[in-house]
Symmetry: C2
Subunit: 302 residues, 2 copies
């Protein structure tokens, strides 16, 4: 009888966009059997051709049926709906997780749904991605050095949590555990507000009236603007779903940003430039130490 090692586990990936396809590529590279499902047949074929899956199922039911681990890689509302739809179809005892950017609503739906199969749901959120979307933008090292936030609750099966943590660690990520609500507050600050700032900056700098002014602004933007605004090129539908699912924490994080930005504006407006310089030095020190932390703790090379 074949020994049941970790990489013997059969994995189902439901949804083959940037994150699902990159995940499949990384898992296949490490020898996992991966069955994928995507709504469009051409996306499933793309996954097979690009080594993101060893098999493709025509329905999500067939994909999850024999999977030891199922990973949902879809937009938040689609995950919530599909979890409910598939509730009784998971393999008994199997582990179900996801990659959604907001955890409260997904974990609640997941825990309720998988009970019907006697499967176990544990939410996860790999902090990885680019401003691009779709399978064509996928690459197998997307998750390397990423931090993955895994969000067990008091209902979680400890062995299922261990499986999810181990899965992410196999992919070269760091894992941190927290509750779904602590997660949603955290990412509102560390990720969601950044996207809203990038959007606000882009609209304010490039969204001007008049062709001449617009042309001038286009030519006057350089690498600083490029990086600060990068994530404004992200998917509008995805970010609508994230912000909608995390409205309260996002508004709190906006308020915290506005307090800091208001202080900066006050110092400039009142000509208190010594204090402005000291505040800039504080910000620089914080960011420099964060880069150092990522390089040291996560093996990044930034």
């Amino acid at each position: 009888m074949e020994e049941l090692t970790f990489t013997n586990q059969k994995i189902a990936i439901i949804g083959m966009g940037l994150l699902g396809t990159s995940l499949g590529m990384a898992l296949r590279k490490r020898g996992f059997e991966v069955v994928c499902w995507a709504r469009r047949e051409e996306t499933r074929l793309f996954a097979l051709e690009h080594h993101a899956a060893s098999g493709a199922a025509p329905t999500p039911q067939l994909a999850v049926k024999e999977a030891d681990i199922t990973i949902f890689c879809l937009p938040i509302p689609v995950i919530v709906n599909l979890l409910d739809e598939l509730g009784g179809d998971f393999k008994p005892g199997s582990v179900v997780t996801d990659i959604g950017s907001v955890k409260g609503c997904i974990v609640a739906a997941g825990e309720a749904a998988v009970k019907r199969s006697r499967a176990h749901f544990v939410g996860s959120h790999p902090m990885a991605g680019t401003e691009k979307s779709g399978a064509e933008a996928a690459f197998p090292t997307l998750y390397e050095h990423a931090e993955v936030l895994v969000t067990p609750t008091e209902n979680s099966d400890p062995a299922a949590v261990t499986t999810v943590v181990r899965l992410w660690k196999e992919l070269g990520t760091s894992v941190r555990l927290m509750t779904p609500s602590a997660h949603d507050i955290l990412v509102a600050h560390t990720s969601h507000v950044s996207h809203l700032l990038a959007l606000g900056l882009t609209l304010s700098v490039l969204g001007v009236e008049g062709e001449a002014l617009k042309k001038l602004r286009f030519s006057g933007c350089a690498t600083g603007f490029k990086d600060t605004s990068r994530i404004a090129s992200s998917s509008p539908a995805m970010w609508r779903e994230i912000v909608e699912a995390n409205q309260k924490s996002v508004l709190e994080a906006i308020a915290e940003f506005e307090a800091c930005f208001g202080k900066i504006k006050e110092l400039i407006s009142e000509g208190r430039f010594d204090e402005f310089e000291a505040l800039f030095a504080k910000g620089k020190a914080l960011r420099d130490s964060w880069i150092e932390y990522k390089n040291k703790e996560h093996g990044c090379n930034w």
Copy 2:
């Protein structure tokens, strides 16, 4: 007699930080004779050793004395003071320019100062740089694909303007002409506010009280935050000088950003997510078209 080609001109670079040293490297690669001056002898030696200059002068007076073109690559207040100090020392008929990020105060000082030598001042601002500073961070392709804003006034000598434009074009940049005040308004929007947002974001996300929360925030930041906050790692002293020299336009650009960001916040707070998604789509389209413009018009490969 040797033909007087453009690259026969003797160039003086005053100040050998990131911008001055990179400029020297680029000019030397193209065969220009470059005399540099930096306050510290070891910086001048670094420039000679790293092919950023063919000669070094112990005083700025000696560096500019025989230069056909002098380029000031120093902090804004140092440029203003040194222009005044050197006013009578430039070669008669020579062209003097600079790389300062704010043009109003520098051009006024430059035009007044170089009159004493019958030289010509024309301000310029290459939109190039990184969040790093110092000669050690220099590299010869820093200016490639950059946009350089050249700021003649009604007092400018047309031949001197042509020389400055030609010099920047030799380095593979695009050049755009505008008045110093139009420049200062433009860069407040396209560059200065981005730096203040990056600073505000960094302070708000990482500048929290309590080691546990700080650690959590450090771990919850990923590539989105990394890029959005990158320029918060810039030089605090430099940004103090820029903002101080451009206070009025910076405050106007902040107000324009706040109007856009306020709209985003309003839509989220009122749960108007269809409109939020449409606004995000508008921002994404603007940024994507800007990237396309840079790739097409400036030969960037972004």
